[in-house]
Amino acid sequence: MAARASFIALRIAGRKADNSWLPSADPRAGPGTVRHRAITLRRCKTIPLYARLVRYGFRKHATYVWAAVAGAFTNSVFGILRAYILIALWQARPGLAGYDVTQAVTFCFITQALIGPMQLFGTGLAIPERIRSGDIALDLVRPASLLLWSLSEDLGRACYLFLVRGIPPMLLGAALFGVTHPAGPGQWLAFLVSFLAGMVASFGWRYLVSLSVCWLIDERGVGAFSLVLTILFSGMLLPLSLFPGLLGELARALPWAAMVQAPTDLYLGKAPVLETLAFQGCWAAALLAAGALGTRAIRHKVVIQGG
């Protein structure tokens, strides 16, 4: 408590530009008063807001069941096509990338299952459209963080698509070709945590792509660029360990590897758990930090188009 008080005193002495989050910024909220306690509590009270946003993100996408069903169907059909190609490849070169044929097929269907939740094609965020139309002004008026707001909503979306577009391709793959499963609860848990970290990293990247609209007016150019990078470097097309030499090293170190390759490796038990999770965590944190900086930048920029 003492440390906290001195920290606040330090902030006041430093006269930082914005002290509005401090209880002391409000003249009616001296330490120990009811109002002081109320404002301190307020910071914990943002959790229900973001929890609710996750729920709304989920429900918003759940409104469009047939879109998700169509997506699941497409992902499954392409999974079957890819599986045949990979089977042919692995029969010609057994043990490639350290996978056997079943593992290669499993790889194929997991990556297909991750397309929806990780939103590998397109940003999946409303931000570009809202910047173009000027609706972003409304988002910026809200007394909440645009980054966390969008993240919560996106996690809700990802959870829904995990259920509707993630599970069907896996079941189909298991029924048609046979796939492997994580050995025990530990490996399942590692996969789920990795999946969550991957979702955050994926969001972080897409958020940055979305914000670029503020400077470029149109997101299609960056979007196409991002699409190529994502397909190539996420491990969606081929396992990244197949990439030769320096290109392979690079591909495995870039953020896209955190979105598909890392969770897939943990599902198959092909990578050290803690190291992989740390790798994903670092990228997720770095991308979110960049996103936070970007949000600050657009606050300054805000062309706010269309009146």
């Binding site: 530009a17 807001l49 946003l53 709304y56 409104t63 008026v141 007394p143 062309v303 706010i304 009146g307």
Partner: protein, 253 residues
Amino acid sequence: MIELDRAGRSFKVRRSLKLKGNLVHAVCDLSFTVAPGEFVGYLGPNGAGKSTTIKMLCGILTPTSGRVRVAGLDPSRKRTTLARRIGVVFGQRTTLWWDLPLRDSFELIRLLYKVDRKVFKTRLDELIETLDLGAFTRTPVRQLSLGQRMRGDLAAALLHAPDVLVLDEPTIGLDVVSKSSIRAFLRRLNAEQGTTVLLTTHDLGDIERLCRRVMLIDHGRLAFDGTLDELMATAPEQSTIEDVVTRLYTGSR
């Protein structure tokens, strides 16, 4: 309640790759004061700087010169604190969740502004009654008519009981019945709760029926500030408010 002191906002407009852009003054040297409880109409032709002013008032835009105060706060620095005391409605946009029932958007606003559940319920019931929302609070917003959605947006902007309400064309595209119900509501809100209202509109009927005071902005500067009667007196030969305002718009060019 609202105070502008020689406030200005300019934008750099770059053409192609030229590094040095032209400076466009959307608002310059704008000074006015709105007292608590006032109902002020804010007029101006397209591109006059109305929306820029509103964006400065809610803290989205930082003025490049001068000073802005709303409810005693500097909007761009204390944006989040101010957000709890100001309500904003952009008639051409919506804060409501398109795919979810109206009620869910309200619930999110309760969490966003951390309104106490009991206080919130009383307030919501009151707004549902006065804005006549009862029939469609469970309807997804995308299925609402424009008039219904607009009333929903108004309720959303008022759920946290703000001291100031800033309206940017709240009656745009509405039929006469919807318009008059919104006008009646705003009049009551201002009279009974003392909420300060700044109303931007192109509908001069709104101004005539609601505003005691009118401000007119053109080319980023205040061209007129006075009562409705004083506005009419600027052009005694004209008989309708439309003609008077047209004269002011074209005369000041």
